[in-house]
Symmetry: C2
Amino acid sequence: MPDQTAPTQTPTQTPIEAPPTPGFQRAADSLVRQIEARIAAGDFADGSPLPPERDLIETYRVSRTVVREAVAALASRGLVESRPRFRPVVRRPGYDAALAAADGVVGHLLAQSGGVKNLYDTRIFLEASLVRQAARQARKDDIEALKRALDANEAAIPDSAAFYRTDTEFHAVLYDIPKNPVFPAIHKAFTAWLAPHWVKMPRSPERNRVNYLRHSDIYQAIRDRDADAAEVALVAHLNAAWEYVRGTFEQP
Amino acid sequence: MPDQTAPTQTPTQTPIEAPPTPGFQRAADSLVRQIEARIAAGDFADGSPLPPERDLIETYRVSRTVVREAVAALASRGLVESRPRFRPVVRRPGYDAALAAADGVVGHLLAQSGGVKNLYDTRIFLEASLVRQAARQARKDDIEALKRALDANEAAIPDSAAFYRTDTEFHAVLYDIPKNPVFPAIHKAFTAWLAPHWVKMPRSPERNRVNYLRHSDIYQAIRDRDADAAEVALVAHLNAAWEYVRGTFEQP
DNA sequence: GCTTTCCTTTGGTCGGACCAAAATTGCGCA
DNA sequence: TGCGCAATTTTGGTCCGACCAAAGGAAAGC
């Protein structure tokens, strides 16, 4: 009796399609919705393991096949985190999970010609807008946070590994300023996707110092509430970084 | 003899981690990578159906369980499109597929408090930057495309359904101007995610006319190369729309 | 009290089977 | 010869039962 879904599911008000939807639903999809609801309702606590597959079989009266398919689907949606031989861990979805769901495809996009450039250009575009906005609306504590990140960046000049971390952190502060959780998630995604193409970049205290000075320019422009200067400094900074590494993976 | 994986898979040279990675790989993951590669290589043509599961079983010498799991994974990554009882169709991943992969999670985010606002604010932010950029760098044919979309928008004022379409199209042109495929994909995702919250908005030729005039303002500002005016007009337009519909789903 | 060993639990994989809907074949009628 | 409809074969969706190896605990030994 796999019809426990029929009565609950909405008739899906899309009467505009004759050939595509034959009105058939996978049992697994139904299970996914039910478990989704229980996760959203806090029925399965965040961070705790999902019940064993055998339990779910009894609870929902479905075969293990369906349970496994459903759990796999939940994992791909970021609602649970499943390591190979361990119980899947429930994860209340956050904004970063949304971007993380795109990881797989993005990997392919980055691999194809011009992919890295497209994504990097998007980052420049977005970050340029962020610094403009920061120059106009950053609060005093935002600017203080930026200053702290800048100082940490300066202190890390001799240590390239530490410099990379503080560099990322400096930019992260920019994404925090709008107080919209979407932006930090985007920053996380950008760094995760672009980092593999960045680590090849040769680093040295000299280059670190140059980058630090660029960061300093950006900071000062924001502090001085000069949106145009901030944007120019940011774009110059990121474009310079691009020029510096393009040779490492672009030789058409 | 389920050991066909044991000899082939690498002993995973990662002696640097005791608890996290037990050096175990799901057979399905391996299959996913192999099929991924063949899709990327054009071995499976875009738009054509994937081989039947029974064939894949023989080709890769794995059980149907593994094949199904792999196909499901590919589907969740947007590499194949699988309708319930049909052969999965191969889809060479595009930028919109990346965003589409986030659909599931985004649904949850939108459901939670402030989710719609966060996403809509992000849209305003991005689109404001787009019109700035358009005012500065739009080419002649970009502005002509914008004008055509604007005219179509005006012609559709009496028909609210048509107006909605041309409205979306007008904004879409803005995302096309940077010539970066990431932006149209983002626009597609935004409209897909926000549309369900938008259809509730009462529509009328009067409101359509107001919105058309806003679009006209944006167009003129871009044509006149006035970035500030374009941004102001765009933000005013989108904020007004927000105020107009917020009552329909925000009463805390 | 702490390590070591044994048993149980649990996820991963396999093989076979059945169903219903798709896709294909082929027959019969015009 | 051409075409529409029915019989047949494919094919995806689901279920079942079984086995393995690793994780998680429990019991035994130091």
